[in-house]
């Protein structure tokens, strides 16, 4: 892998710090543009965009796992759906002492983290190959979908589950999020915080160790790092973020259905991240937002051609671009600055 070579060469540290700063600057621009959007236009775009931003957050959860740690999960949508059902179940209960939405979001994230930690530790501690991990997570998303369909007295089965819009409560006052703009800003804030949090995580020791495991797991083991524990932690965090996104999605859309956890949606996330570039969290986020917006727009115009195009782009991203659009652009920029 070329990334391994880059890490080995001392002189490139300076460059990676520069591109890191460039990405942060770009991220500020992106989030500022998203923040300005409801001031410029209103209507359907402001209504629907938070859902796509939450898909972007789910894409970042995969970006953390796949980009930093080198572990691919085909089951992120399973966590997304589980998060949605978790908040639905909590908000459906009467007489909770705290804001049920807060509790629901917490339960969603914790349930997904616990599930991911259990599966992750079970497999990683035995040194199960990465490709087997893909199969297991693929099976996981099938199981989530099937359980959601079959346990219809809890989940509503095929009919899905209806969930109210949440409200924000602070000591003293309450903010209803039934209007489009307030919940838009809530989701945007969550997306930005997740992005910043994960960026920070990549900078600290934990993130460096994950990269070390991605590049050479036996060496990290030999250096005394318990790779299975770190991989488990990364998977649990990734599951928690996907569950958080799913919970917010559920309260925004007002509805969760079993297909939200299915294989097709799970692997769509993989396509977004692969096409946009798995090495960059911002690319993963933008990939989630842009591809799902485009899908929505174009599937009304030319549904099958659009899906076909995405499939072909996925193959091109793996064979030619190697690291997705972001990886390709980064190489072009590098080459230019090298020539200069």
């Amino acid at each position: 892998m070329s990334a391994a070579g880059d890490l080995a060469l001392g002189g490139t540290a300076d460059r990676s710090a520069r591109t890191g700063l460039g990405e942060l600057l770009l991220a500020v621009l992106v989030f500022a543009a998203l923040a300005a959007l409801p001031q410029l236009i209103e209507g359907y775009v402001v209504y629907i965009l938070p859902q796509y931003m939450l898909f972007g957050v789910m894409a970042m959860s995969l970006g953390l796992l796949w980009g930093s740690c080198g572990v691919l999960s085909f089951g992120q949508a399973g966590f997304f759906a589980l998060g949605g059902y978790a908040i639905g179940l909590v908000m459906g209960r009467e007489g909770l002492p705290v804001n049920p939405a807060y509790l629901g979001i917490l339960c969603a994230a914790l349930a997904c983290a616990a599930l991911a930690a259990a599966i992750g530790y079970f497999l990683f501690s035995a040194g199960v190959r990465d490709s087997y991990f893909v199969l297991v997570t693929l099976a996981l998303s099938i199981m989530v979908e099937q359980i959601a369909v079959s346990q219809s007295e809890i989940t509503g089965g095929w009919n899905g589950m209806f969930i109210n819009r949440m409200s924000l409560t602070f000591p003293g006052f309450e903010l209803q999020l039934t209007e489009d703009a307030p919940i838009y800003y809530l989701v945007l804030a969550v997306a930005a915080l997740v992005y910043l949090g994960l960026r920070l995580l990549q900078r600290v020791r934990f993130g460096k160790i994950l990269v070390g495991i991605r590049e050479n797991e036996p060496r990290m083991e030999a250096l005394g790092y318990a790779a299975p524990l770190y991989k488990t932690a990364a998977f649990a965090l990734s599951g928690a973020i996907a569950g958080l996104a799913g919970a917010l999605y559920a309260t925004h859309a007002g509805f969760v259905a079993p297909s939200l956890g299915g294989v097709l949606f799970s692997t769509e996330v993989v396509v977004w991240v692969a096409v946009a570039g798995r090495q960059s969290l911002l690319a993963a986020f933008l990939g989630g937002v842009l591809v799902s917006s485009l899908s929505n727009y174009l599937s009304a115009v030319a549904p099958s051609l659009w899906q076909l195009f995405m499939g072909l782009l996925f193959i091109v991203a793996i064979t030619v671009l190697r690291g997705g659009v972001a990886g390709f652009l980064a190489r072009v920029v590098d080459r230019r600055s090298a020539v200069r």
Partner: protein
């Protein structure tokens, strides 16, 4: 009582054999040359659609099955030649590429054949009576074909010159290539054979189900579990044992619970087996 036990056993055996047929292509591609072929489901689907297209255009049943399998084999050849052969050293990339193949193939199937449910007429709608049991004739025949296919595969692998080459490649690719084996060609033959078998399975299974563009996905994960639980490279015994654990035991679990719950239990069981016996129940510890 005895009759109902017998009928459950017969049911489990037939489901095991049908799954073993569906998994046979994967047992070849994944089990022998280690390519995680996530396009396996799309290959089954394509076989079923080719079968539907030919039978609805008046092609008799048996030639239609062979033509459908050949068609999928040719698609496999194209896929291998254009993409897969460049990535044999990178299993993870082939996993992603075969998923890309699944995405593209599914959309092409939708464009060419439409998204409606399709049905292939059952050529043997009768049932046969055996020891007091009424067995569906066609399903039983497919079960027998499945056994035959696995036996032939094992025979080819262990009794012919081609089989020796494949086993040499599986055991030690570098040494095999130093001894003059055309590694690229053997990879290609194995991949195309696997695609052919997937097409054959799709065509033979098509009269048992209504066909839709995602029909192969039902078999994708089960086939993978069948092959890994049984044991990589264990074409005959491994595929049968794995198919029983993943398919046949579901029938038995379904007796005491719902079908969906049974499948969830079986998947969980397969995951547990995958962790504790990563080389499969029949496989040797490598």
């Amino acid at each position: 009582m005895l009759a109902s036990i017998l009928s459950v056993v017969a049911d489990a055996v037939l489901i095991t054999l049908v799954l073993a047929l569906a998994a046979s292509g994967l047992a070849v591609i994944f089990g022998l040359i280690g390519v995680i072929n996530l396009g396996h489901g799309a290959m089954l689907t394509l076989g079923a659609y080719l079968m539907w297209w030919m039978t609805s255009h008046g092609v008799p049943f048996v030639p239609a099955v062979l033509l459908a399998a050949t068609g999928v084999g040719l698609v496999g050849l194209l896929l291998e030649h254009v993409l897969i052969r460049h990535f044999y050293d990178e299993p993870f990339e082939t996993l992603l590429l075969t998923w890309g193949f699944f995405l593209v193939a599914t959309e092409v199937i939708k464009l060419v054949f439409g998204t409606d449910f399709r049905n292939v007429p059952n050529p043997l709608p009768a049932t046969i009576s055996l020891a007091g049991l009424e067995l569906p004739a066609y399903r039983s025949l497919v079960g027998l074909i499945s056994l035959l296919v696995l036996l032939v595969l094992a025979g080819v692998l262990f009794r012919t010159g081609v089989g020796i080459k494949v086993r040499a490649l599986v055991q030690n690719r570098e040494v095999a290539s130093l001894l003059g084996l055309n590694v690229g060609l053997v990879y290609k033959q194995v991949f195309v054979a696997g695609a052919f078998l997937a097409g054959l399975a799709g065509a033979l299974i098509s009269p048992m189900l209504s066909i839709d563009p995602y029909i192969g996905n039902v078999f994708l994960v089960r086939s993978f579990f069948a092959v890994t639980v049984g044991g990589l490279g264990q074409i005959l015994a491994g595929t049968l044992v794995g198919s029983f654990v993943v398919g046949g035991s579901e029938t038995i679990f379904a007796l005491v619970s719902s079908q969906v719950f049974a499948q969830t239990v079986v998947f969980a069981l397969a995951i547990v087996l995958l962790r504790f016996r990563p080389t499969g129940l029949i496989g040797l510890r490598r």
